[in-house]
């Protein structure tokens, strides 16, 4: 089962894009080279577009900065966040591939308990290519993994599972805590390697972290909008959360699965908790309203595509969350703009997109 060598078989190398948002540099790619080099990278440069981001030699990539985003989307560029890693979803939109893997630039290769380097991408691909089991919980976790199976009592009619839309990976070292938790436990490190992949049951919401995330763009791409964050917005650090709630509701509606667990990456940079607190605190209140909204959201039967589901959600966001704060009215509009832009860029296979600086 486990790939022995550091150079794994490039599974899906022509079907998967790696999307990386960055404002600093891409030195971290050196460590990932053995695993990433076969794949095409889409780099979304946040922040000052006049800065040049140096990409290590030997990678095949396209790079987009704010100017490119404005040029390509025109007025619709307003839905893409500025000065926030949420801008990464632009990369999802311009990709032409079936699968996306997105990773933060402070995430490195982790080691498993035997000391071996973990090929995170390979595990994500395994997760995406095998079914999920959202309709009934399997106590031995992912039954499709080598050495595991469905347990006694698991209905046979449900053993084919559902197509997997999302693979949510975890992080060793710096855990993904919110600001209050970081303040109280600044020294806590995640050292526990949990050797499991599991499907999040239908009807259950979860906090989706965008640091180490893969998904089937064909199945769920348009739902992966990372919202309005950063410059000029009242909130930050909720981009992936928002995408995760929308994505899960739509996956549940369309009968798709979301997995979480392996693979682990090594998260090296602890962000400043005071800065985080300023970004998050509105979100901490607002999420108390958002969670019941998403838990109770229901989509009509005629929403049979991701876009239709998403537009319906946007409508409901405006109606119900608009009362909480005007921000949600803006967000609902941006959600619609996002879908319009997505459809425009992805309407036909030959839709030509003016490229970023490609190599």
């Amino acid at each position: 089962m486990a790939g022995g060598s550091v150079s794994p078989t490039p599974l899906l190398k022509d079907e998967l894009d790696i999307v990386i948002p960055t404002i600093r540099n891409l030195d971290f790619l050196e460590m990932w080279r053995p695993f990433f080099q076969p794949y095409h990278l889409i780099i979304v440069q946040d922040g000052d577009p006049s800065k040049t981001i140096k990409v290590p030699e030997g990678f095949d990539y396209e790079l987009y900065n704010r100017n490119d985003i404005n040029r390509i989307l025109g007025p619709k560029a307003s839905c893409i966040s500025f000065k926030d890693s949420a801008c990464r979803c632009f990369g999802y939109m311009v990709s032409k591939k079936k699968y996306i893997y997105t990773i933060d630039d402070d995430c490195f290769v982790a080691k498993d308990p035997t000391g071996k380097d973990i090929n995170a991408l390979e595990q994500h691909i395994k997760n995406l290519l095998s079914p999920s089991t959202p309709f009934f919980f399997n106590t031995l976790y992912d039954p499709y993994r080598n050495g595991a199976d469905f347990v006694r009592g698991y209905p046979f009619s449900l053993r084919e599972g559902a197509p997997t839309a999302v693979s949510h990976g975890l992080w060793l070292n710096i855990p993904d805590y919110d600001a209050p938790t970081q303040l109280v436990k600044p020294l806590e490190r995640n050292t526990r390697y949990v050797d499991a992949v599991l499907t999040i049951p239908k009807g259950t919401l979860f906090p989706m972290c965008g640091m180490n995330l893969a998904f089937n763009r064909e199945l769920i791409g348009p739902a992966m909008y990372f919202g309005l964050m950063g410059d000029g917005q009242p909130i930050g650090r909720y981009d992936d959360m928002w995408a995760g709630w929308c994505t899960k509701v739509i996956c549940d509606h369309l009968g798709l699965g979301v997995k979480t667990g392996l693979p682990y990456i090594y998260h090296s940079k602890a962000s400043n908790p005071f800065v985080n607190l300023k970004k998050e605190y509105k979100g901490i209140f607002w999420q108390e309203e958002c969670i019941p909204f998403f838990q109770n959201a229901s989509l009509p039967k005629d929403c049979t595509s991701v876009q239709k589901c998403y537009l319906e959600l946007a409508k409901q966001v405006k109606e119900k969350l608009g009362k909480v704060d005007d921000y949600f009215v803006k967000l609902a509009d941006a959600m619609v703009t996002w879908i319009e832009a997505w459809d425009e860029l992805n309407s036909s296979p030959s839709a030509a997109i003016p490229n970023g600086n490609a190599k």
Partner: protein, 428 residues
């Protein structure tokens, strides 16, 4: 928690951050940051820091979060003391084999300080062999007949179900039950797993069924709630049931094990997690712990297969009972955990032989899923007992027509509740 070095590093870093972001008016020299950090609580000192910024937004944030410096924090969990007294625990062993010597000796270091209830399968002919050195009460067919009458005994308590008699007569708050063909397991570092201690920790710490935590149990040392986990849900709910797992022979059904005769479970997954509300799972009775006060009669010997035998492949009573228990827990807003602890399950029986018997259990499961996914309990049902009575009514109504087995299960559930009430085990 923190080492000396860590403490100094942290002090230095925090001081820098504090001086950089907060007004110089704030005096923090006198403040003991290491102590604050070690305490793991957002206490007066840090609160004062924030308050001293004078920013409206920060102040209203603090008010809204309703931070109590001393009382159970709404904010991040710390490694609180989740402990259970020995005298609140019964360990119930259903003896399906007569010689328990090696089983009990293997578990001795772990269970000898607890009170044990051993219930002998009423169909077992041989005398029980139990080693010395335990605080144990043994119950046999005679005892069961006295409490329930011999007809009911044979209906409810034969085979693996003999353990339910133990649940019935126990007077303790917590019950741990392990199959008699299981031994203590070793963890991934080679240390012996104290399955009892782990079950008790699972039961004492809250469960989190309302929202999924991607770092699994937030109450374990070294873990917490992740970013995006709603604060209003961080207190969790009472954990009513702790379902453990098995190394070596996993709890697979006969067809699966027969197809993969060499497959053994060697993967030690170092996690405990709460099964989310509304999600159903197959509960295995092989290795469980539960809060008897809260769950009461919700674990019951209801579903008896026609060909039920003395191997786990030939039973379904725990799976069926477990689905009812989960529905009840969801309704009562209490939690079910799964994962650690592991036990080592020994080889016994032959899956192919079990396959030859009519494995009706597998077919039956198909019929019950839609029922359990849609069952609704009335608001007035506020105890496990009430819920069980209500579920049995619905089972009789909706599943009874599909198969006699269900009608019988529904009747058995009512008999069980009556026994429960008679034995004075009722929850008020």
């Amino acid at each position: 928690m923190a080492t000396v070095d860590g403490r100094n590093k942290c002090t230095g870093k925090l001081k820098f951050i504090l001086s950089y972001t907060i007004n110089k008016q704030i005096l923090f020299q006198g403040m003991s940051v290491p102590r604050t950090l070690r305490a793991g609580k957002l206490n007066e000192k840090i609160l004062q820091l924030f308050i001293a910024t004078g920013k409206d937004e920060v102040l209203s944030f603090i008010r809204e979060l309703n931070i109590h410096p001393v009382i159970t924090p709404v904010l991040p969990t710390q490694m609180a003391q989740f402990s259970v007294k020995d005298e609140d625990v019964d360990i119930v062993i259903g003896a399906v084999q007569s010689d328990l010597t090696s089983f009990m000796n293997a578990w001795k270091p772990i269970i000898s300080r607890f009170h044990l209830i051993i219930v002998k399968d009423p169909d077992l002919k041989e005398d029980l062999k139990v080693p010395e050195g335990f605080d144990v009460n043994i119950y046999t067919k005679a005892d069961m007949d006295q409490v329930a009458g011999s007809a009911l005994t044979s209906q409810l308590f034969s085979g693996f179900s003999c353990r339910y008699f133990g649940y019935l007569i126990s007077k303790k708050k917590y019950v741990i039950s392990i199959d008699d063909d299981c031994l203590p397991a070793k963890d991934d570092k080679g240390f012996q797993v104290d399955a009892v201690a782990q079950h008790l920790f699972n039961l004492a710490a809250p469960a989190t069924p309302l929202f999924f935590n991607t770092l699994y149990d937030p109450y374990r040392k070294g873990a917490d709630f992740v970013r995006g986990y709603p604060f209003s849900m961080r207190e969790g709910v009472t954990c009513a049931l702790s379902c453990g797992l098995w190394l070596n022979l996993a709890d697979l059904d006969a067809p699966t094990q027969a197809l993969k005769p060499e497959q053994r479970n060697s993967r030690y997954v170092d996690a405990v997690l709460t099964i989310p509300a509304k999600a159903l799972m197959p509960m295995s009775g092989i290795n469980i712990g539960f809060n008897r006060e809260v769950l009461g009669p919700a674990l019951f010997p209801g579903l008896k297969l026609a060909g039920e035998g003395k191997f786990r492949w030939e039973t379904m009573e725990d799976v069926f009972g477990g689905m009812c228990a989960k529905v009840i827990c969801d309704h009562l807003k209490i939690g079910v955990k799964t994962g650690l602890p592991y036990v080592w399950r020994q080889e016994r029986g032959d899956a192919v032989q079990s396959l030859k018997k009519e494995w009706e259990g597998v077919k039956l499961m198909e019929e019950v899923i839609p029922f359990f996914q849609n069952v609704k309990l009335p608001v007035e049902a506020v105890t496990a007992e009430d819920c069980l009575v209500e579920i049995s009514k619905q089972i009789k109504e909706k599943l009874g027509p599909l198969n006699d087995v269900f009608g019988q299960a529904a009747d058995a559930m009512i008999q069980w509740v009556n026994l429960w009430r008679k034995a004075g085990s009722s929850s008020s």
